[in-house]
Amino acid sequence: MTAAAWLALFSPLGAAVALAVLGDRISRSRAGLLVSGSVLVSFVSSAYVLARLLSEHPEQRSHVSTLWTWLSAGDLQVGFEILVDPLSVFMMLVVSGVGFLIVSYATGYMRGDDEERRYHAYKALFVFSMLLLVQSGNLLLLLVGWGMVGLSSYLLINFWHQRRSAVAAGKKAFIVNAFGDATVALGLFLVIQRVGALDFATVFGSAEAEIGRSNTVAVLIALGLLGGAAAKSAQVPLHTWLPDAMEGPTPVSALIHAATMVTAGVYLIARTHVLFELAPVVLHTAAVLGGVTLLVAGVIALVQTDIKRVIAYSTMSQIGYMFVAAGVGAYGAGMFHLMTHAFFKALLFMAAGLVIHALAGEQDIRRMGGLGRELPRTTRAFLIGTLALAGVPPLAGFFSKDEILANTLDGGPLGIVLFVFGVAGAFLTAMYSFRLLFVVFRGKQSEHVQHHLHREPNEGPLSMVWPVGVLAVLAVVGGLVSVPGGWHAVDTWLEPVSRPLVHPAGWMEAFSPILSVCVALLGIAVAWRLWGQASDLPTALARRYPLATVALERKLYFDEVYDALLVRPAARLAVTLERVVERPIVAGSARATAGGIRGLASRVAATQSGLLRVYALVVAVGLATLVLVFISVR
């Protein structure tokens, strides 16, 4: 069984390495096949592992497999090991399953791109990193996967390196993620220092005894982990990279950021919940972050005009729900929503991709409209995704979101507040998702559509259409694995790994769905009123509240604040250093060497003449300072 898990892990890596080594020697279509085949192998292996686990007693479903002792320093032993347990298998299935659909879709979507092979290689690398992250058997290997996910997402985001905006977006994503990596690493140091081990079993087993509850160290460890989780999962205030990440090839990498990568934070909390529970303050912080994020992102999504960005903000908002769930201790509910979200969000992105594909790359929804008649299948797919997202029963999103809301009700006073947030969020979700649906598919066709729409027999190549179909089915039925008042398959499955802290009573399970369905329907109605029919109400509203509109369109100024506080001072420092230090001292010699062998003009040489002495002078000044310090401290 563990052999199958290793196979699942390494097969995408093998594909990535093969593509890197083969370069131009493999044809584009073969490259795509190779990668999708390798991810399919991962999925099948994961399914096999699941089947094997199912045949075991629930309390014994945990297997560690170590390839070799990776490093041992003193008492600290870290193996190159994977952990196979219900939680990791759950994530493996989501990652490799949805990953497989994405990869297959991409072979159609990226066809004809100059650098198709590179794209496939990056994607294989991404799947490998993600699997490493969810399968690792200790915190250090988890950090490795964590970092590699950030890296491969960087590569995907600025895949189109000719676009300045893509490059900037990639950099931003990487820096935010690197910040998260750093905080996780600092957390790990504390764990090593206190517990002296990094493998999950030992750490979780002795955490309470070695670290203690609610003291500074416990809080710092949990904060470090939370920093990483919030960065990777794009939670306020570390969320700014995600909307920009939509610069990646439409919509494939966007999809990766929606369905898989960003859920890593939720996984991390669920996996290390023992450490979080030692610092309930931090756990509650996570919940509050999630609550704030789901509202903020929902509001911003209302005014965005780029089809991918709307879905991106929706992603942030939905992950906010998952953070709320994890934060109140309803890990199963969070993971459940993670799964259904992967289905319907992937569906939405793929449908959006079909739209963009049909419109030759157009992403601005103001230049769409009336596509319902032209693209009936896409419209149906989009409608299913939207209904699931909005939480309309009996689609997948309904069950998972309401499980979260029901769980918050049991979370004490904070839970009640979060419940209110969640219900408000449900309203917003319904509103912005139907706005998107109405604006894109209803109304009259814009001029752009009339000129650029190109029709294909199946509204897209087959390789793009079938994953959409599969996901549409999943988005409809995926929620049935867990039904309020009935059964809780996900909770039960994950029980041995992450026992929930909250147990909603019967009335909660009944009350919350009814309320949230009402709210969602209200949201849909409002959206209908505003965007569903020809009306000048939206513009009138915008005119009425210009400040609010601008603030929302500027995404509540998060970017501007970071820019002023961090980016610009850093840039100024670099520029100043360049002007004061670099140019006078160093640039001269660069110019001289660039001038070529014979062209060492005497003028340049004169600039040079100062240089060497300056070098020596700096040494002398440094020496004088050091001696002065040394004799004065003695």
């Binding site: 004169a606 003449s609 100062g610 002078l617 002398a620 000044v621 020496l623 004088a624 001696v627 002065l628």
Partner: protein
């Protein structure tokens, strides 16, 4: 007896003062002369006065080596190269960047002040008295014993470094032969 010792002391002082003045003056001259040829000559004087000081410090063998090897062989090579370069070796004295020059002088003065301060503070205790030396201290015999004994490695490595230097000089100084067959 006391008188003789006193006379010896005075003599040493006189020699020391003369050598010290020569040392510092020639040192400044090396740095300040416009013509490298003159600077090189000043360095020879500098090395000579150093040899005198070494003698006062009972380092006979080092003093001899200083005069023979250093002031003799090395400086001859120096003068030869300067002569080879001819008048072209004359380099402008002044710096184009006065600020650098000022900063350089200030830094060196500060550094000097620091080291002198350290020596002065130390002179009250550690440096005030020198250990008694034996008869053979600093003699060729004594150093020979060290070079073949305790410091054998230093001896061997010095010769190796010199070999590499010589090879390097040949490599750098040799004209590049053109037209040699390349693979």
């Amino acid at each position: 007896m006391i008188l003789a010792s006193l006379a010896g002391d005075v003599l040493v002082w006189v020699v020391w003062v003369v050598a010290a003045i020569a040392l510092l003056a020639s040192g400044f001259a090396v740095v300040l002369f416009r013509n490298p040829f003159h600077s090189a000559l000043a360095l020879i004087l500098n090395l000579g006065s150093l040899a005198v000081l070494y003698l006062l410090l009972s380092a006979e063998f080092v003093a001899a080596a200083q005069v023979l090897v250093y002031a003799g062989a090395v400086m001859v090579m120096f003068l030869f190269v300067i002569a080879y370069l001819g008048g072209r070796a004359d380099a402008p004295w002044a710096s184009s960047q006065a600020a650098v020059r000022v900063a350089a002088v200030v830094t060196c003065v500060v550094l000097l002040a620091e080291v002198v301060l350290v020596i002065a503070l130390d002179a009250r205790d550690g440096l005030s008295s020198a250990a008694e030396i034996t008869e053979g201290f600093g003699s060729p015999r004594e150093l020979g014993r060290l070079f073949l004994g305790d410091n054998l490695l230093a001896f061997e490595v010095s010769s190796l470094v010199l070999l590499i230097g010589a090879v390097g000089g040949v490599i750098l100084g040799a004209t590049v032969r053109r037209g040699e067959v390349e693979e």
